[in-house]
């Protein structure tokens, strides 16, 4: 065990905060969909994965400029979110919640297999390296710094959108009472579709940031998916601020655990912590007990 309070430990803590940005951003879309439509997209990480492939395809294969490629990726996942809602979720809106979760699990298999068919199982990388910033003897990759800033900005932006725009207010109101709002003239079908588009778009934004840091492969969703769910549940499903706090906590367990022991132990400790917290506070860190 090489765990001591030195410069590497501090670097791990700061890197943990940066990793938290990515986890928080990824959990944002899932939280939004759960809070409003009341379904868990178990294939959410697979939406991120196909977003990464879309960006890879537009940038590396078609040769489009990177910002345009990212925009295409975000549009693509937003459309995928709407399609997921229309085709899979809408027929199941009145079914048992667990059936909705399982149906999106079928989509998980579908997307993974489709990505394998289209791109093979090789690891792909868009080959963009942003380098890293140094602070004293510590190094932080620009990819992570940008991700953290974008995550923070997106969270504030989404909050503003939900509180101050007409569409956002309607979505927020629907999430608070999904039975009364339709009686007040809100078209719940359209609002659900809009929320799903937004949720899918946020997955695409996550993908745009992830291609800067990670290789792309069909199974990447299985690696990140469980982490994203953990962050959402720990923060209280549907609670976005809680998700951010939870991302910070989980990321610290991962980075400090990884720097003290080995990578997988960092993750294992994070999952163990999650299980224990579920027993102590099942409503989430910031959630109110219903």
């Amino acid at each position: 065990m090489t765990c001591s309070l030195d410069i590497f430990f501090l670097e791990a803590v700061l890197n943990g905060i940066l990793l938290a940005g990515l986890l928080a951003l990824l959990s944002l879309g899932l939280n939004l969909v759960f809070g409003v439509v009341d379904v868990v997209w178990i294939c959410y990480a697979e939406l991120v994965m196909i977003g990464m492939y879309a960006i890879f395809f537009a940038y590396s294969t078609l040769g489009l400029p990177l910002p345009l490629a990212m925009l295409i990726g975000i549009t693509f996942t937003a459309l995928a979110g709407v399609a997921l809602h229309m085709i899979v979720i809408r027929p199941l809106l009145d079914a048992a919640p667990i059936n909705q979760l399982l149906a999106t699990g079928g989509v998980l298999f579908l997307l993974q297999a489709a990505a394998t068919l289209a791109f093979g199982i090789e690891f792909r990388n868009i080959g963009v390296h942003l380098g890293s910033a140094s602070l004293g003897e510590m190094f932080f990759s620009w990819g992570r710094i940008i991700t953290f800033s974008v995550a923070l900005a997106t969270m504030l932006g989404l909050r503003y959108f939900l509180r101050h725009s007409y569409l956002g207010l309607a979505i927020l109101a629907l999430s608070q009472d999904r039975h009364v709002m339709p009686l007040m003239g809100a078209d719940s079908r359209r609002l659900y579709a809009a929320t799903s588009a937004l949720g899918g778009g946020l997955a695409g934004l996550g993908a745009a940031l992830m291609v800067l840091q990670f290789d792309i492969y069909p199974q990447i969703g299985l690696q990140f998916g469980p982490l994203i769910f953990m962050v959402c549940v720990l923060g209280g499903l549907g609670n976005m601020l809680g998700g951010f706090v939870a991302a910070l906590v989980i990321a610290q367990f991962i980075t400090i655990g990884s720097s003290c022991f080995a990578t997988e132990w960092g993750y294992a400790i994070a999952f163990l912590f999650f299980i224990l917290m579920m027993f102590i506070r099942p409503q989430g860190l910031l959630g109110a007990r219903s």
């Binding site: 989509v107 998980l108 297999a113 069909p218 769910f229 080995a262 993750y267 099942p282």
Partner: protein, 339 residues
């Protein structure tokens, strides 16, 4: 216990099946038996999951139990030299202990639905990461093999894969035990208690059902069945890997196999196993036989079965939530009721 004649005939057919295969396909007998053995072993694991799944306790974590069954048995054999005859019961006990450790607090805290599914998902990831983390013993993500004993067939080492005939009857026996456990639960008072709990926990508690105790009992039984199945599967495959016998992917396969076959009926999970194995093997043979598709897709064609599988699952859950067997039984009853 009264035996339905149709079941007796079915069982007799299953006993006769390997001899029929030997007679009809003398050249490729091993291959066909291999597929059927895998079906039977998965069918037992699926049935074990469905024991609790049918009552609304949807666990995404049973990959942890199959993994523990496989790994504890093989680790004890490889490093302590303990025969699987003792190792398998030990592994089953470890899995049951984990099930109780996770189940008790979560049932007390009334964690259910999405939350229970996601909690069990965290459990299976934790177990998978522990397996990878202990790579000095388990071989990490590459997996490992049980040490061979003698010429490959041994009761002491529970190694039987070299002789497919023996392996078939081992698998058949394991599957049959699974079905017997299912029938036993189906005819018990616990079944009615659990059905009441599945519909309304508070109301069930109000009429005097010990909710936590009933849930714990079925969870422990289900975990034990899956751990046992995982251990036998490892002894048959003679290989264990974190992604083939433990992990989230295995859990999802179990859940979907059951949903496709039919969750609340005795043979539903077995039909689910039959379907998934037939689908993947059938498509694999079809694509390997077709030269043009092979040239077009190469090894990627292997993921086509998953693609079709995913689409089928979505369709099943939307249009046939009771699965193949459940829907067929509904149709049968309606026809008989109508005439």
């Amino acid at each position: 216990m009264k035996l339905n004649p149709a079941y007796a005939v079915g069982l007799a057919a299953l006993v006769a099946l390997p001899f029929a295969i030997r007679a009809v396909f003398p050249g490729s007998e091993k291959y066909y038996l291999h597929i059927i053995i895998q079906m039977l072993l998965w069918a037992q694991i699926y049935t074990g999951w469905a024991l609790m799944g049918r009552f609304g306790l949807t666990s995404l974590g049973h990959g942890a139990f199959t993994g523990i069954g496989a790994y504890v048995t093989v680790m004890l054999w490889n490093f302590v030299g303990l025969t699987p005859l003792v190792g398998i019961p030990v592994a089953v006990c470890v899995a049951v202990a984990l099930a109780l450790l996770i189940g008790y607090p979560s049932f007390l805290q009334r964690i259910r639905g999405h939350y229970f599914a996601l909690l069990t998902l965290a459990m299976v990831e934790f177990v998978r990461l522990c397996i990878i983390g202990l790579r000095d013993f388990t071989g990490g993500s590459l997996g490992t093999q049980p040490v061979r004993y003698g010429d490959g067939i041994s009761l002491y080492a529970v190694q039987f894969e070299a002789d497919r005939m023996i392996a078939y009857f081992v698998a058949l026996a394991v599957w049959f035990v699974g079905i017997l456990v299912w029938v036993r639960v189906d005819r018990s008072m616990d079944r009615y208690a659990l059905e009441a709990i599945g519909q309304d926990e508070e109301a069930a508690a109000a009429v005097g059902i010990n909710v936590t105790r009933e849930k714990l009992k079925i969870t422990a039984l289900s975990a034990a069945m899956c751990a046992f199945g995982g251990a036998i599967f490892a002894q048959y495959q003679m290989y264990i890997g974190p992604d083939t016998i433990a992990g989230f992917g295995v859990s999802l396969n179990i859940v979907f196999g059951v949903v496709a076959g039919g969750i609340g009926v005795m043979l539903g999970p077995s039909i689910g196993a039959l379907l998934t194995q037939l689908l993947s093997e059938g498509l694999r043979m079809f694509f390997q036989g077709s030269a043009t598709l092979n040239a077009m897709l190469g090894s990627r064609a292997l993921s086509l079965d998953t693609l079709i599988y995913g689409v089928l699952l979505v369709l099943f859950i939307i249009h046939m939530p009771r699965g193949i067997v459940g829907t067929a039984m509904d149709l049968w009853r309606r026809r008989r009721g109508g005439s």
